[in-house]
Symmetry: C2
């Protein structure tokens, strides 16, 4: 209910959504100004919000809340470390309130916020949801009893860093090896496919690609390419096992799969489910998996949603 802004702060652009009565009315983008360790980002967002409000005749006193999704861990509205923007222990609410005064400013990690967005639109009957986002990296968000969980260090839902390949895993950006992200991110999928091509002498259309992409791996698999099918199977295995792990911990009603890689659709979901079913315990063996519905809008929806919690 009421009027809200949902603000999804990314490393290159900021997406701003205006919601009235739980409906998205408008959305627009501004570039992310990363100069001076991102010191102008919040000011420029507030300028954009003010300009939009003026243009549409919206009185900012009527706004119920502002929600922010931030590309890094967040604790109590503080962005603890945000390498993309240069923020360290940055009080987003306090900074925003310098320009726009509102008590209800909610701040959360961007992957958590995306999970909240999907949760918002998934409808009733679901109270617990886990979202995994497969893109350049692998992110996640955990909703327990309708609420995004943050964790002791703002790192709940860092599902890309579930240890997956224990022996011989690739180096992850986080410093460890064998994290789920090294296998299941768009980059990870390509790295693993190239390794599979080297280790196999089977013919594959993937051998003829000049600059292999995750999409090509899925497309080849859909066309029956054996090496590509093996790659998708390995990917599904690690994701499925990670999900069985997650389910033994929080037992969600539903898994949502999002991010650019999720465009692969049914073949991805089916392969994940095949492996999940093998390793998940009986009480949660039938937990459903769905493709995310909101695409790139999950962040603004979720940011608006967290102002209501």
């Amino acid at each position: 209910m009421g009027k809200k802004f949902g603000i999804d702060v990314g490393g290159t652009g900021v997406k701003i959504g205006y919601f009235d009565n739980d409906e998205l009315v408008d959305k627009f983008n501004i570039p992310t100004n990363k100069e001076n360790n991102g010191s102008e980002v919040i000011k420029e967002i507030s300028d954009a919000v003010k300009a939009y409000a003026t243009e549409r005749g919206i009185d900012l006193n009527d706004i119920d809340g502002y929600g922010f999704g931030i590309p890094g861990p967040v604790q109590n509205n503080i962005a603890t470390i945000c390498p993309n923007l240069g923020w360290i222990n940055y009080d987003v609410k306090k900074e925003f309130n310098k320009y726009i005064v509102c008590d209800n400013v909610a701040v959360a990690n961007d992957a958590n916020v995306a999970a909240a967005g999907e949760f918002w639109v998934v409808g009733s009957g679901v109270r617990n949801l886990v979202m995994l986002t497969f893109g350049t990296g692998v992110g996640g968000g955990i909703i327990v009893d309708g609420k995004v969980i943050e964790g002791a260090n703002g790192a709940a839902g860092e599902l890309g860093h579930i240890p997956s390949k224990i022996e011989g895993g690739n180096q992850c950006g986080c410093g460890n090896t064998g994290c789920l992200e090294t296998i299941a991110s768009a980059t990870g999928i390509v790295t693993e496919a190239k390794k599979a091509l080297l280790e196999s002498n089977k013919e594959s259309t993937l051998r003829h690609s000049a600059d292999l992409t995750a999409k090509e791996v899925f497309d080849a698999a859909k066309s029956g390419d054996i090496v590509a099918l093996e790659c998708v199977d390995q990917l599904g295995k690690y994701v499925g096992i990670a999900c069985a792990n997650i389910a033994a911990t929080v037992d969600p009603d539903l898994f949502i799969i999002g991010g650019g890689v999720s465009a692969a659709g049914e073949i991805l979901i089916d392969t994940i489910k095949k492996w999940y079913t093998q390793f998940a315990m009986k009480p949660f063996k039938d937990t459903p998996f769905e493709i995310a519905k909101l695409g790139n809008d999950a962040g603004i929806y979720g940011a608006a949603y967290i102002t209501t919690k």
Copy 2:
């Protein structure tokens, strides 16, 4: 605050604790009557509570709440399946209210309840806690923001069924293979030690044990026995990795290690931490591990605690 009963229902005995002003005043046991699919268990508990109250001059109208820990999954006070007792979709609160009327009856899984008990005594500063219990089986409980989480199927915190040994894992009681329980329960530790002895030709004091126990494995490791040390290291590896998984999901303030196996003490904690640190992501690499404080009383404490939530 107030007066409560905490009731820990086990497969062979029921432990009942009486709490006044958050202090345990008395505890006593009755045997679990498993006849007729456990139809008399709740009646006999209420009889024991009434007898205790009469003896001590306690007016049952002054009792604020009754909490139950149940050996099986629980949803909304219903024990969905409880093979030890013979209960299926058993409404514990409704049954108890036939004999003792009280609105505040809280029911939860026994491992979740034990986690709640440890949470209660751990003191302030901790809002999120994960407890793992290593005994005949491996159980777990997850506290998020001060509250036990139950999950969509009452199976949140089923940490013994985290898939751990993906290739060549042993059969688990749950029907899957390679669950954490197959490695880290008292039985699992012995099975793995026997396998290690067969696969190695190193001398070991364990070879001279007539009926090997988990305690003997730890004792031998503490005395420097190489095979036993390798067994403890493998155990710590799988538990440490499982904890890194759990932390990427819920990011607790603290891990608590309980159950009979936890009597091994420092060597167990140190080995788990060594592996945890290697696989855990930076934000939660330093999450502390502690041995459970309440021992067999965790269930009655936790059962009393959940009446306050």
